[in-house]
């Protein structure tokens, strides 16, 4: 026995001649965006900062998540993990820590990493790792935006039901020197990361469309001078036809020929215009398709959402289980719940069952699910667009706005963020307050939680066992009760969570129940 062992140990002493071991691993590739620029600006400072980040943040994070740092290059690193979940979790930790580190610095000296994660069969040596999988990871990192984590389809399949965060599909991408296109997903760990990225894309759109807006503003001003109706409302629910001239005073000299040009982009639902007018403070304002007065109907202000994958549900209540991944197609949703003014247009057209009382810009209440359906049917017909109620999945996707926390602003309740019982200083007697009185979520939507309960299209089901994963409404014919979301000003903070759900009889009106509309593209 001792001899044999001796022989074996003698062998081990020799340099290993076996081929390098292959194994399946999650590869994380990261590099610094604009490294050369930073080095040019301050070579020694940048170098020592990067080294410090590697020492204090990247190495410990990788170890904590049971990974191995394979190598560091001047501006990047490559690490391998046994578990895809740990790999993505580690990447999110690194990105979120960097946001904190950069916060105190001026924009131009930020150190931002781009991170790509891929699952692949690779050859691992002590100080390096080789294979197709590594190349794909570094290509993913190459196409990622600074501060973002991009993952491949292989990783996504492994983690989608395990890691609670949002995923946005970017489709199949062709990457350099790799024959097959790679399915790419973007990880949405927190709302700020989401909005930063989105805003960048919006800027391009804003530039492209600012000219069109000017032309329309001229036409609209003319329209207003001819037909002065309504006050120049400061209410956010006022249709943009009234809001536009406020910030875009077009020369009144040449309105007539502009009026010819104005209507052409209007009827198209695809005509997206930036709206810095009504909500200048909103940081995350996504693409906005403002309502345009067609014949006489004032359409609600809508926000277009691109859709993507997200984890629906929570473990807070049995009705919200199980947490499941849902794919949302692009759609638009009302920025506010439907107001008394909007409802009464339908009532005036004899298409809705009753005339609502209360302030014009308060949300309409005391509507049953069937009442809400009547309104959307009338609106769709009057505006000739596919207006409808939101599905339950769409509602939660919009309410979460890329977040996976208990509330859209974090896990802790903060007073003044939502209109719920004992959540704000507004006296109960003045309820319900006008729409848009509280902060919008990162998608720019108001009152998604608190305010008024909101009907959605889905029939009530006790939990998500058997729920569809494609974002469609979960319905059977003639269901006795439908889902309400958001909680109202009479419910406490638990009801204002984006995942909270409740039900109510389809045909019954109740004083805290309202709704908002959605629009298929």
């Amino acid at each position: 026995m001792a001899e044999i062992r001796g022989i074996k140990s003698g062998r081990v002493g020799e340099p290993p001649r076996d081929p390098a071991p292959r194994r399946l691993a999650a590869i994380v590739a990261g590099d610094i965006a604009g490294y050369s620029r930073l080095m040019q600006m301050d070579e020694e400072g940048t170098h020592s900062r990067v080294k410090r980040i590697e020492r204090d943040l990247i190495e410990p994070s990788i170890l904590e998540h049971h990974g191995r740092l394979v190598k560091t290059t001047g501006d990047g690193f490559i690490a391998i993990f046994d578990s895809p979940v740990e790999a993505v979790r580690c990447s999110i930790v690194i990105q979120q820590n960097l946001v904190g580190r950069n916060a105190s610095l001026p924009r131009h000296s930020w150190i931002e990493y781009r991170i790509g994660v891929n699952l692949g069969d690779v050859i691992i040596e002590t100080d390096d790792v080789y294979g197709d999988g590594v190349n794909v990871a570094s290509r993913l990192e190459g196409i990622a935006d600074p501060g973002q984590v991009y993952i491949s389809g292989g990783i996504y399949e492994q983690i989608k039901h395990k890691l609670v965060c949002g995923y946005e599909s970017l489709g199949d991408r062709k990457v350099k020197n790799i024959t097959d296109p790679v399915r790419v997903y973007r990880v949405l760990p927190d709302p700020s990361a989401f909005h930063r990225n989105r805003k960048r894309r919006e800027n391009i759109l804003i530039f492209l469309l600012s000219l069109a807006l000017l032309a329309i503003a001229g036409g609209v001003l003319w329209y207003m001078l001819i037909q002065p109706h309504g006050k120049m409302g400061d209410q956010a629910s006022a249709p943009p036809s009234q809001a536009a001239p406020q910030s875009q005073p077009a020369p009144a000299a040449a309105p007539t020929q502009q009026q010819q040009a104005a209507p052409s982009p209007q009827p198209s639902p695809a005509a997206k215009q930036p709206s810095p007018l009504t909500q200048p403070a909103s940081p995350a304002a996504p693409v906005i398709a403002p309502s345009i007065p067609a014949a006489s109907v004032h359409e609600p202000e809508m926000i277009t959402l691109r859709g993507g994958s997200f984890a629906m549900g929570s473990n807070e209540d049995n009705s919200e289980k199980p947490i499941h991944q849902v794919m949302i197609k692009p759609f638009a949703i009302g920025r506010f719940p439907i107001s008394v003014r909007e409802w009464n247009e339908c009532a005036a057209a004899k298409a809705c069952g009753f005339v609502a009382t209360g302030k014009d810009d308060a949300p309409v209440t005391n509507v049953s699910w069937s009442d809400a359906k009547q309104y959307v049917a009338w609106l769709a017909q009057a505006a000739r667009k596919a207006y409808r109620l939101a599905t339950e999945a769409e509602w939660e996707y919009a309410a979460r706005a890329g977040t996976q926390t208990k509330y859209w602003w974090g896990d802790q309740f903060q007073s003044g963020m939502a209109n719920c019982k004992n959540c704000s200083d507004i006296p109960a007697a003045e309820q319900p307050t006008k729409v848009g009185s509280f902060k919008p979520n990162p998608f720019g939507l108001y009152d998604m939680g608190g305010g008024v309960d909101q009907w959605v299209e889905d029939c009530w089901h006790r939990n998500y066992q058997g729920a569809p994963a494609d974002g469609s409404a979960w319905v059977e014919s003639q269901c006795p009760s439908h889902v309400i979301r958001s909680g109202s000003w009479k419910n406490d903070a638990r009801y204002a969570r984006p995942s909270n759900r409740d039900s109510y009889d389809t045909e019954v009106r109740y004083p805290t129940h309202g709704f908002r509309v959605a629009l298929s593209p």
């Binding site: 009479k490 419910n491 109510y504 045909e507 109740y510 004083p511 805290t512 129940h513």
Partner: protein, 141 residues
């Protein structure tokens, strides 16, 4: 001085009586709301059918304004007393039966729970005087 006080008092009383009149439809004095099942102190395994009983009044849909009729509300583990001037709350512990249901499948986590029925009028306000059942306690195993 005394005159103005009297005027103020009568004004206040008028307001009071008006507000009392505005909320809540009158209910017959002999109306009785009760649980057919479960009985107070019952021990139940799992989910159960809760059956509501009402004497000397009728059950109708919410929104229907017939005299001497209303719809059921089941209050689960509610400690606050009923506010006769507010609509009956709507949340997870105030279950509404606006379609005129007289029974419901109830599932509760194991432990002791209180149940109470309240009859609401067309606009979900309690009647005047309120038509409520005894508060019963059940134990779920």
């Amino acid at each position: 001085m005394k005159f103005t006080q009297l005027v103020a008092l009568s004004f206040a009383l008028t307001c009071l009586s008006f507000s009392a009149y505005a909320q809540g439809k009158p209910a017959p004095k002999d109306a009785v709301l009760y649980f057919v099942w479960p009985q107070n102190g019952a021990t139940i395994k799992g989910g159960f059918w809760c059956r509501f009983g009402l004497r000397n009044m009728g059950v109708t849909h919410a929104g229907d304004n017939y005299p001497n009729s209303g719809h059921h509300h089941l209050l689960i583990d509610v400690a606050e007393s009923l506010d006769p001037n507010e609509p009956i709350a709507q949340d997870k512990s105030h279950v509404h039966f606006g379609a005129g249901q007289t029974e419901a499948r109830i599932e509760l986590p194991p432990g002791k729970h209180t149940l109470q029925l309240v009859l609401g009028d067309a606009n979900h306000y309690p009647f005047n005087p309120p038509v409520v059942s005894d508060k019963i306690t059940v134990t779920i195993r």
